[in-house]
Structure formats: structure tokens, C-alpha cells
């Protein structure tokens, strides 16, 4: 229970910190940390506009997307406290319930029959498909290391590893998971969330037709997604004491957001055809972790 509350709390700040980091780096005053949340609150008060070309799938997709994210977030534990949903192999459930949400987003995009949205849907599905092995290799490696197959079991036993668990490996895992989070959330260097140019977008162009309440759902789901990946990364470093864990959790979330903000300030987006190569190289790095652990 605590973990999902912490994730919600982090979600309130996460996007705002990214935006803030970017505006500081650009020498601008920029909006406040809560601006993204205010935007979503405004959207929630609005009605949605639907194209006559769309069907029920388009209307249902944002809700399903949000639901899948809430369910996935409920799986994430906090140190040795299991999440709301916890069973053996729940990290597989976690990955696929997220995919389910994404699947609905994609078919909703196709439902609009817009050539833009079809383009975005094809890109998004390609990149998340390629990113999937990274997540499984990282989680699978720790599962192998700890002999557990549930999130709660994995992270609880990680805490007892202490010196045995190589801190460096955890760091590599953290970086990989952060990059997966950036791919899944369509951030730089894969996608440019700031652009207004439909042809270069990945995620944004897929949700072009969504408006009002539906758009609010999709955006807030994105914020939760960030905080959720942040929580998984934080779990790699949590220590035994409760207060220490909270501090580490906050610090890791903050660092993740700032790291994303810095990347987006000082880097250009990749050329679209370099994206698959980039994601493949992440898989390769994940294999390194797996081999390290197999050899332990």
C-alpha cells in the first residue's frame, strides 16, 4: 500500500522537475514544478471531442491505458513491503499488463484512420517491442541472483545481500532501467516530447486525436509511469531502515528526473533509424549483467 502511495506522490513532482531542469539549463525562468499537474487538472475539467470516424475502442483506450498503469504500479513493492498485488512471477504480469495498455493505445490510434497516428503507432510499437528484452533481462538476472520470481521477493532478498551484491551491477541496472523508462515514456533521445512537428513525433502523434478528459488520463498515466520506473530503480538501492529507505527513494526519483532533464537539455534527438540500434545496444548491456550473475 505504501509503495503505490509513494509512487503517486513522486508522480506529482516527476514531470515538473524534468521541465524545471530543462528551463534552468536553457536560462529561462520556466513554469513551476506543478505546472504539468495543473495542466492535467485543467484537462480533467474538460469534455472530450471525438471524431465521427472513431469507434468505441477509441473512447475506451485511455481508460484501459490508465487502468493498466495503475495495476502495474500496484505490483511494485517498497523494499521488503510487497505491493498491493504480489505473487510469484508478478514482474512478468507487470510487463504485460503495461503492454496491454499500450496495445489499446495503438489500436485506438489506428482507429482514427489518420495517416499521422498510424505512423506514430507503428513507431511506438516497434520501440517498445525492442525495449522489452532489456527489462526482462535485467529483472531475470536479479531473479536468478536472488532465486525469487516476485518483485517483493527479489527486492527483499536484495537488501540482505549487502556487500555480496555488486553495487556496480546495480548501477548498470539502474541506468538501463532509466533508459527503458525514457523509451517507454517517449523521451529524448528516442522521441522529442517538446516538438510541434507531427512527422518527427513518436508518442505524441499517436494521441493527437485525444482531447480533454481522455488526454488528461493519458498524460497523468505517463507521469505515474515515470514514478513507477523510478520506484523500481529505487528498490535496487533501498536499505533496511524505514527512514533511510524513504530518503533513498526520494533521492533516486529526484536524480532520475534531473538526469532526464539534463539529457534533454544537452542532447539532440537520434535520427529515427538509429533508434533501433540504440535499443539493441541496451539489450547487449543487459546481457552483460546476465552473464556476470551467471558467473557469480
Amino acid at each position: 500500500m505504501l509503495s503505490i502511495l509513494l509512487i503517486f506522490a513522486a508522480a506529482l513532482f516527476f514531470s515538473g522537475i524534468i521541465v524545471r531542469t530543462k528551463s534552468v539549463c536553457a536560462g529561462r525562468r520556466g513554469p513551476g514544478v506543478f505546472q504539468p499537474i495543473k495542466d492535467v487538472a485543467r484537462l480533467f475539467r474538460k469534455g472530450a471531442v471525438y471524431s465521427t470516424a472513431t469507434t468505441a475502442i477509441f473512447k475506451a483506450a485511455p481508460v484501459i491505458y490508465m487502468a493498466s498503469l495503475l495495476m502495474a504500479a500496484a505490483c511494485v513493492p517498497f523494499g521488503n513491503m510487497p505491493g498491493l498485488i504480489s505473487f510469484e512471477g508478478d514482474f512478468v504480469f507487470f510487463a504485460y499488463v503495461l503492454s496491454l495498455g499500450k496495445f489499446f493505445c495503438i489500436i485506438a490510434a489506428l482507429d482514427t484512420a489518420s495517416s499521422f497516428e498510424g505512423m506514430g503507432a507503428s513507431r511506438e510499437s516497434l520501440y517498445s517491442m525492442l525495449a522489452e528484452p532489456v527489462f526482462f533481462l535485467v529483472m531475470g538476472s536479479i531473479a536468478l541472483l536472488t532465486g525469487n520470481t516476485s518483485f517483493a521477493g527479489i527486492f527483499a532478498s536484495l537488501q540482505t545481500y549487502g556487500s555480496f551484491f555488486n553495487f556496480g551491477t546495480a548501477l548498470v541496472m539502474a541506468v538501463l532501467l532509466l533508459l527503458v523508462a525514457m523509451i517507454e515514456n517517449s523521451r529524448l533521445p528516442i522521441d522529442d516530447p517538446k516538438t510541434h512537428l507531427e512527422l518527427t513525433m513518436v508518442h505524441e502523434v499517436m494521441i493527437l486525436d485525444n482531447s480533454g478528459f481522455d488526454l488528461g488520463l493519458i498524460l497523468s498515466a505517463g507521469y505515474i509511469k515515470f514514478a513507477m520506473y523510478g520506484a523500481i530503480i529505487a528498490n535496487l538501492f533501498l536499505c533496511g531502515s524505514f527512514a533511510g529507505s524513504i530518503a533513498i527513494f526520494t533521492l533516486v526519483q529526484l536524480l532520475c528526473a534531473v538526469a532526464i532533464g539534463l539529457t534533454e537539455s544537452f542532447m539532440a534527438r537520434f535520427r529515427m533509424n538509429h533508434n533501433p540500434e540504440f535499443i539493441f545496444s541496451l539489450s547487449a548491456a543487459a546481457f552483460l549483467i546476465l552473464f556476470t550473475i551467471v558467473n557469480l
Binding site: 530543462k22 539549463c25 536553457a26 536560462g27 529561462r28 495517416s115 499521422f116 505512423m119 529524448l188 533521445p189 522529442d192 517538446k194 516538438t195 510541434h196 512537428l197 507531427e198 512527422l199 518527427t200 534533454e264 537539455s265 544537452f266 542532447m267 539532440a268 534527438r269 537520434f270 535520427r271 529515427m272 533509424n273 538509429h274
Partner: protein, 490 residues
């Protein structure tokens, strides 16, 4: 028939333009001249005079600093097309405005009208798909429709339909009664080239009236042109960085543009240089205080500009997006009749400042030429041209004819324009060659005013540039040309 050779802005009697009796002779002459890569068609239009419709061809010879002018009086409403890519666009314009059919034309489509049944190029292949973008775009830009034929993420063909911004500039230029109104119109032909177009307009009017611009006017105009170049190039660099999602470049170049346009405001009350150039006068005096202010502004500008440009030109993350994106080969640029910065990026050295000197420009100035024709070449050209323009501005200020006692700068009375006269002015705006052509009637009033913005030729360059590129790279290709919709649509 031997064509008449004119200098830039040199007027001639309309009757002196040699007339080819036969269309074949007219077309052959044009073909012969255009076969030389140093010659290109700067204007080709139809003029309905009393003795019939004249087709007037103006071909600039960059090596001789001369413009060949010759005409043909139509006897038939159907003539064969010259089938030269650079000329075919003009033929479309003539066909649209005068109902003349060019037989054998390879692309007989509307130029500035947007019918619902526009005959787009289509592919029958099931593997290909079409993406239509516009006329309404995301962001605050002008309308235009882009039709892509793609295979997956790769663009096979792009066709651009323009004309949404057609305002009837050429007709309005004749109809407006006062010179002030005409000047305001000239400034608004393309909002980002206010100075360029008004210099061309002023040169035409002054040449027609036999008015010689004072030293101070010549200096002020040259300065305004170069400041416009610096400001717009810097803004474009910011936008190029923005399109590859490089925030630092976007922010820094964006900030750097501001002091330059603010300086324009200080000088002439308008950030885009509107009202800065007017025929027969230099409306705003350039004082010593203003000169010092400008030198200070440029010094601060140059330091940051060079630092940022070094970063952009050495940063792999940015370079990987710019290099080998949107390449146009020299041969393609030549065939399309490219002008200005876009032509120079493809190794085609076309700069009116050098080839047809006007104001204070001379033929020994240095032009920046790149050879890859990609987005990076066009970026480099902008960076280097800004540097050159700053040097030029400093030189101008050094030799500026400050004359604090002179207060009366405008001509006492507006001189009358000569009757039945033809004049053509070429000006190198920041984007490229601007060509304004005027013909007066028997009473000395404008009978025809033709405007050609560099975008007229260079939209074709964009179509060529994006072929076999990824569709996600279209915006960056587009931005690297930064063409004007309203300059094309008039």
C-alpha cells in the same frame, strides 16, 4: 535577334527590348543562354500590352554582370513548352494568369491556386502510402499542403501545393495610389524579408524616375540588408537546433537574435526593419550614437555566437542529424534554377551581391560556398555568412558618411517616373535573389509589376532534398531552407 543587355536596376525604353518574331527563335535564344551554367532565368512573364501579349524573358549572366532581356509577341494561345525545369515554373505562372497553354509541359499544374481536384502525383503501388500534411500546420506558420508518397518511413516523393497565401500583390502594386502604400505592400511581400523586398522596390522606383540615391541612403540600405541577414540566419539556426531537439542551441541562438532585431527597433522603430527603407529617402538617420550602440551589440553578439556555433559544429549528437540529411546535388540545384543560400550549399555559387553588384557591394566580395548540399551545409553557410555580415557592418560603420548638419534627407518632391520604361532590380535578400520588374505605361504610371521571391525557385529544392530521406527528417530539411509561403504565393 540579339538580346538587350542591362545592368542591375538599369532602366531601358520598353520599345528597345528586342522582339523575336518567331517563338522558336525566342525559345532557342533562351535555351542557348541557359545552357551556360553561369546564366539563369531570373524572370519570365507575360505582359498584356496594346499590341498583344508579350512574353518577356530575363536571363542573368553572372559572369558578365548583365541581364539579357528579350521578348516575343504571342500570335497563338498555344506555344511549345521549353521543357527546362527552371523555366517550367514560370510557364505555369503564365499559363495560370493568361490562359496560355504550353504544349508538352511536363508538370502542367496550378501554381498559386488550390483546387479541390489538384492533380497530385500518385503511386499505384500497394506498398506505398500517402501522408498529407497541411495546409493547416501545428505551430504558427503559414499554410501550404505537402503530399508525401512514402514506403515505410522513407519518402519517395514529395509534392508541394501552394497558393493559400495568394493576395494579388502584383495587381495591388499597380492599383495602390500612393508611393507610401506601395512601400508598405512591398515590405509585406514576405514578412521575414521586409528589407530585401523594399530595397528592390525602392531601386526600381528610383531607377524609373532617374533619381540617384544619396550616399547616406546607400549606406543605410546596405546596413539594413546585412542586419536582416544576421537576424534571420540566427533565428533559423535556433529553429534548426529546435527541430533536432537540441535545446541548448535553440535557446542560445534564439536569445542572440533578439538584440539584433531590438537594435532594428531602436534605429527605425520596427524589429523587422519595416519602414527602414523607402524610395527617394532615408527615413531614419543613422547617428554616431547609433553606430556605437551597434558596435557594442555586435561585439557581445559575436562572442556568444561563435561559442555556440563551435559547439554545434563539433557536437556528434547534432551532427548526426544534420550531416547527409536532405542532400541536393549540384546538378539538381542547377536544373531547378536554385538561387541564394540554398544554391550555394550545393556548390552553385549564386550571389547577386557579387555577380550583379548594387548599393555598396562589389564583385570582389567573398561568398560562402559549400558542396555537400545537405542540412549541415546550409547550417554552415548561415554560420559563416553571419560572420561575414558582421565584418561587413563594421567596415560600413568605419567609412560611414556621418553628416550631422544635414537634416533634410528626403527628396524635395517625388520625381515623376519615365513613361514606357522597363526596369529590373536584383537584390540578394538573406534567402537569395529577389527580382522585381516594373514596366510603366505612356503616362508614367506602373503598368506591370512582377515580384519574384527566391522561394519561387527553392521550393523545388525542398522537394528534391527530402527524397529517400526519412519522413521524420522532413521538418529539419524544411527548416534548413526556411522558404516563404507568401513570398511564393504573392
Amino acid at each position: 535577334m540579339e538580346p538587350l543587355y542591362l545592368k542591375n536596376s538599369q532602366p531601358c525604353r520598353f520599345g528597345d527590348i528586342p522582339v523575336a518574331t518567331d517563338f522558336r527563335e525566342f525559345a532557342d535564344e533562351a535555351r542557348t543562354l541557359l545552357s551556360d551554367s553561369r546564366c539563369h532565368c531570373v524572370n519570365y512573364f507575360a505582359f498584356a500590352a496594346q499590341d498583344g501579349i508579350h512574353l518577356i524573358m530575363c536571363i542573368a549572366n553572372d559572369a558578365e554582370a548583365a541581364i539579357a532581356v528579350f521578348s516575343h509577341i504571342l500570335t497563338d494561345s498555344e506555344v511549345p513548352s521549353m521543357q527546362i525545369e527552371a523555366v517550367e515554373r514560370f510557364e505555369r505562372e503564365i499559363s495560370e494568369n493568361h490562359g496560355i497553354t504550353f504544349t508538352g509541359h511536363r508538370w502542367p499544374k496550378p501554381l498559386r491556386t488550390t483546387p479541390d481536384d489538384y492533380p497530385f502525383y500518385r503511386s499505384d503501388n500497394e506498398e506505398h502510402h500517402e501522408v498529407g500534411v497541411g495546409p493547416i500546420h501545428a505551430g504558427v506558420i503559414e499554410p501550404g499542403h505537402f503530399r508525401f508518397t512514402c514506403e515505410g518511413e522513407t519518402i519517395l516523393n514529395l509534392e508541394i501545393m501552394l497558393g493559400y497565401q495568394h493576395r494579388g500583390v502584383e495587381k495591388l502594386m499597380i492599383a495602390l495610389p500612393t508611393i507610401d502604400q506601395k512601400s508598405i505592400l512591398a515590405e509585406n511581400i514576405a514578412g521575414d524579408t521586409a528589407v530585401g523586398h523594399s530595397v528592390a522596390f525602392a531601386s526600381n522606383l528610383e531607377s524609373l524616375s532617374g533619381f540617384k540615391a544619396s550616399r547616406e541612403m546607400v549606406y543605410a540600405r546596405t546596413l539594413a540588408l546585412e542586419l536582416e541577414r544576421i537576424a534571420i540566419h540566427t533565428g533559423d539556426l535556433s529553429a534548426i537546433c529546435g527541430d533536432v531537439a537540441y535545446q541548448l542551441g535553440n535557446a542560445v541562438y534564439g536569445r542572440l537574435r533578439t538584440p539584433i532585431i531590438n537594435y532594428m527597433q531602436k534605429w527605425c522603430g520596427n524589429r523587422l526593419g519595416k519602414t527602414c527603407v523607402r524610395p527617394f529617402e532615408a527615413p531614419y538617420k543613422f547617428t554616431k550614437a547609433l553606430a556605437e550602440d551597434l558596435l557594442k551589440t555586435l561585439e557581445a553578439f559575436e562572442k556568444d555566437f561563435n561559442l555556440m556555433s563551435r559547439q554545434v559544429c563539433h557536437y556528434p549528437s547534432v551532427l548526426s542529424r544534420l550531416e547527409r540529411t536532405g542532400s541536393v546535388k549540384y546538378e539538381q540545384a542547377l536544373e531547378a534554377g536554385a538561387v541564394g543560400m540554398a544554391a550555394r550549399a550545393s556548390g552553385l555559387s549564386r550571389d547577386v551581391r557579387k555577380s550583379h553588384p548594387y548599393l555598396l557591394y562589389s564583385s570582389d566580395m567573398e561568398t560562402v560556398v559549400k558542396h555537400h548540399g545537405d542540412v549541415y551545409s546550409r547550417t554552415q553557410i548561415r554560420i559563416e555568412e553571419v560572420g561575414n555580415s558582421i565584418a561587413m557592418v563594421r567596415k560600413l560603420i568605419e567609412s560611414w558618411p556621418f553628416d550631422e548638419t544635414a537634416t533634410q534627407m528626403a527628396a524635395a518632391a517625388t520625381p515623376a517616373m519615365a513613361p514606357d520604361t522597363f526596369v529590373l532590380s536584383l537584390v540578394e535578400g538573406w534567402r537569395g535573389e529577389i527580382c522585381h520588374t516594373a514596366i510603366t505605361d505612356a503616362s508614367g504610371k506602373l503598368a506591370l509589376y512582377k515580384v519574384k521571391d527566391p522561394s519561387f525557385h527553392n521550393w523545388r529544392m525542398l522537394e528534391l532534398a527530402v527524397r529517400n530521406n526519412e519522413i521524420s527528417d522532413f521538418p529539419i530539411c524544411n527548416k534548413s531552407f526556411n522558404l516563404s509561403y507568401c513570398g511564393h504565393d504573392l
